[in-house]
């Protein structure tokens, strides 16, 4: 008896979202099969990989990273250099200086930084806020205004601040937004419904279902993404069909494994390698669960994950 394949092809599909300026935009979403199951049916758009930079500069304690950004000192130079990383589909700027628990620079200044990076970037742009609902509510509309015409993707709008961010970014300035909820399928759905009630149509927002690094409660994230994809495809749940973006870098580079020094843990080896492997492992697992885009910090991780995607899809 021969093997009878039983492909799972769904009548519904993930919504497509494009961002980036006209002529240079990238598109993700669109799949009508489970994540990476290109053997069941062709997948419209492969998952995307973004390279993350911070407005606070580059961690030059990491030798490989320092070498990659050698000579790039201003934000514009760093942004331009990041865009040359092999495999990077988009640039993601984290506006760290605006964090109220940190430097807390005014939103106008942060928006100007976003503009500076954007003007220097050859790739479509994602802007990551500061993960503080009040500051993001003020900051992201300013960024949206500063980046008119760039069709940038702004992360993120949460339940506490989605109204202002959604209306300003999408309706007033034609940008895209990420709807962020805390690793829970129902919260994600609820936020999407609320956003759609503001008159924001599919194609203008993506989902950000939370973060976790491998080993740190990652099962909650992966199971949530898997359940969201299953509901979107098999239940045709319209409110769970936007593509999923997962910023991996932040968590991957802040867990103990990527933070402690080689002096303290000599058997663990160089810190940079640990951070890269943590990024790679987490990103690959996110893609397996169903993320349609991941954001990584190290050019070496970006290259590996881009290659993995190219091999699979």
């Amino acid at each position: 008896m021969t093997f009878k394949p039983d492909p799972q092809i769904f009548a519904s599909s993930i919504k497509e979202v494009s961002f980036g300026p006209e002529g240079a935009a990238v598109t993700f979403g669109g799949a009508g099969v489970l994540p990476l199951y290109s053997f069941d049916a062709p997948i419209a758009h492969r998952p995307l990989v973004g390279i993350e930079i911070s407005d606070k500069g580059v961690d030059r304690d990491l030798p490989e990273l320092a070498a990659f950004y050698d000579g790039a000192n201003t934000l514009a130079e760093i942004a331009a250099r990041a865009c040359t990383a092999p495999g990077a589909d988009f640039l993601s700027l984290k506006l760290e200086s605006a964090d109220p628990n940190g430097d807390n620079i005014p939103s106008d200044e942060a928006a100007a930084l976003a503009k500076e990076a954007s003007d220097a970037s050859a790739l479509p742009l994602v802007i990551q806020g500061v993960d503080n609902v009040d500051k993001d509510a003020e900051l992201l509309p300013k960024v949206a205004e500063a980046l008119q015409g760039k069709n940038a993707l702004l992360l993120s709008a949460k339940e506490e601040n989605y109204k202002g961010i959604a209306v300003a970014a999408v309706t007033a300035y034609g940008q895209k937004i990420g709807a962020e909820s805390a690793v829970d399928i129902n919260l994600a759905k609820q936020l999407n419904v609320l956003i759609s009630q503001m008159g924001i149509q599919h194609g203008n927002y993506v989902m950000h279902l939370g973060n976790a690094a491998a080993g740190y409660g990652f099962e909650y994230l992966s199971s949530t993404i898997e359940r969201v994809k299953l509901a979107a495809l098999s239940q045709n749940d319209d409110a769970l069909q936007p593509p999923v973006i997962t910023p991996v870098a932040g968590d991957a580079w802040s867990v103990k494994e990527s933070v402690v020094s080689e002096e303290d843990f000599p058997e663990w080896g160089p810190r940079e390698r640990r951070g890269i492997e943590m990024e790679i492992s987490t990103a690959a697992a996110c893609l397996a669960a169903g993320s349609d885009a991941v954001i990584l910090r190290h050019p070496s991780s970006v290259e590996t994950i881009a290659k993995l995607i190219a091999e699979l899809v």
Binding site: T2, P5, K256, R274, I280, A285, K307, L308
Partner: protein, 444 residues
């Protein structure tokens, strides 16, 4: 469809004889259905009932053990495709690969990875020995590998070499990986003769399926399906389709554990091997063979595996106790939170980031998050106070300031009553505000 407890109860003698160790036949039936009791424990089941049960409870995927008796490893037995449906059963095993020449070096490297993470010992599970043509050296390498105490996979499709290696280390219960449509009969005989599990590969899923069926006819019981090394794409497609056929379509010929050789899929590229290993932890790799494993790779991979192979209904917990952070001593402030591992990691991470010494006290809170534990009554003023007394914190720490999570501010008053002499301080509701809060508290 698994049998419900009540259906199993119907087949019991209904005498409550207690010989199975359960007080009632009902309890026994429920536990068999749950998988915490075995049907064989009932001495009074009729043949007819056993046959009926055996058929209905036959798992969609075979499970068996490999490796030496004192360190045996489980494979297979999965019943679902997604962990949110039910806990995955046999965690992905990691093998490092070498040929007869490189075995010593690889074994020495692999031995370095050995540490504990949340109660689980993390080490390379298996030595994967690739036959390169020198039979005598191969047999020697096999012996050394077996002596290392780890399980061994003999990756060899040469019958003669296979026989010699098997003869040398059969007591270590190695896996013989090397059967294919051409050598099937001979390898089936070897597997039976030495009582080992047999890895099989073929050029296509069709051919693999047919070969497995032939092996089953040959009488081979424990089979491992090698997903092949033609390309990353085909290895992934095969791993998914094999598992899906077994679980979703009930195709018993594909109801066996899988083996993915990422060493051959991405030779010389450690990063890509990490990526592939991570992919196959989620998507159906039972054994993942790598070229080697550094700590940098082991840390995320073992962490990821530990996460994925958890009970979706039951959260991971950390041990109860007092965790002195940032060099906390008896004069440092105390803080309390729940034993849910995720909460612990987040809270301890933020405290570490603040640099302020804190005694982080973790009582038994049933492994729930703060609010859930509180609403389930497992994180109450009474239980916190009881733990502080029981763990004798008061004689170990002189500081009488206790920080409680902002989400359970409601406990403040009651805690003050239950813990006379303590000053209860309500912390922020979100861990992200902890650094700032602790610094301000420290400055005040």
């Amino acid at each position: 469809m698994a049998l419900k407890g009540i259906d199993i109860f119907k087949l019991t003698p209904k005498t409550n004889c207690k010989e199975c160790g359960q007080p009632t036949c009902m309890a026994f039936g429920m536990k068999v259905a749950q998988g915490t009791a075995q049907i064989e424990q009932c001495p009074h089941m009729s043949e007819e009932a056993l046959a009926k049960l055996g058929e209905a409870t036959a798992p969609p995927m075979k499970s068996f053990k490999i490796g030496p008796a004192d360190a045996e490893l489980s494979l297979g037995g999965e019943t679902v495709l997604f962990r949110h449906d039910k806990t995955f059963v046999s965690k992905t095993l990691f093998a490092v690969s070498a040929d007869e020449a490189g075995a010593d070096a690889v074994m020495a490297e692999a031995a370095k990875i050995d540490y504990e993470r949340i109660g689980e010992r993390m080490r390379v599970d298996i030595i994967h020995l690739e036959y390169a043509g020198d039979t005598a050296a191969y047999v020697e390498a096999a012996k050394k590998s077996a002596a290392s105490g780890k399980a061994v996979i003999l990756s060899v499709s040469d019958e003669g070499a296979a026989r010699e290696a098997l003869s040398a280390i059969k007591d270590a219960r190695p896996v013989l990986n090397g059967a294919n449509p051409d050598n099937r009969e001979a390898f089936a005989a070897l597997a039976k003769e030495f009582g080992v599990s047999l890895g099989v590969s073929a050029d296509s899923l069709d051919a693999l399926h047919e070969t497995v069926q032939a092996l089953e006819k040959d009488g081979v019981k424990d089979i491992i399906l090698d997903v092949g090394t033609a390309s990353i794409k085909s290895a992934f497609a095969n791993a998914v389709q094999i598992r899906r056929a077994a679980i979703k379509s009930g195709d018993h010929s594909f109801g066996y554990p899988s083996l993915v050789n990422v060493a051959k899929l991405a030779p010389g590229d450690a990063g890509m091997q990490t990526a592939l290993a991570s992919l196959f932890i989620l998507k159906y790799g039972s054994i993942v063979v790598m070229e080697g494993m550094s700590y940098a790779q082991a840390l995320p991979l073992f962490g990821l595996r530990q996460n994925i192979y958890t009970d979706p209904q039951k959260p991971m917990t950390v041990e109860t106790g007092n965790y002195p952070l940032n060099g906390a001593d008896e004069n440092s402030v105390c803080a309390v939170t729940v034993d849910f591992a995720l909460t612990y990691f987040i809270v301890s991470g933020e405290i570490e980031r603040s640099g302020i010494p804190v005694n982080l006290i973790i009582p038994d809170a049933g492994g729930y998050s703060v609010l859930t534990a509180w609403s389930a009554g497992k994180f109450s003023a009474g239980s916190i106070a009881a733990f502080i007394k029981e763990a004798d914190i008061e004689s170990k720490v002189k500081n009488r300031n206790l920080l409680i999570p902002g989400k359970v501010a409601v406990l403040k008053g009651e805690l003050e009553e239950n813990l006379p002499g303590w000053n209860i301080i309500v912390s922020p509701g979100e861990a992200t505000s902890l650094v700032k809060f602790l610094k301000e508290l420290d400055a005040a």
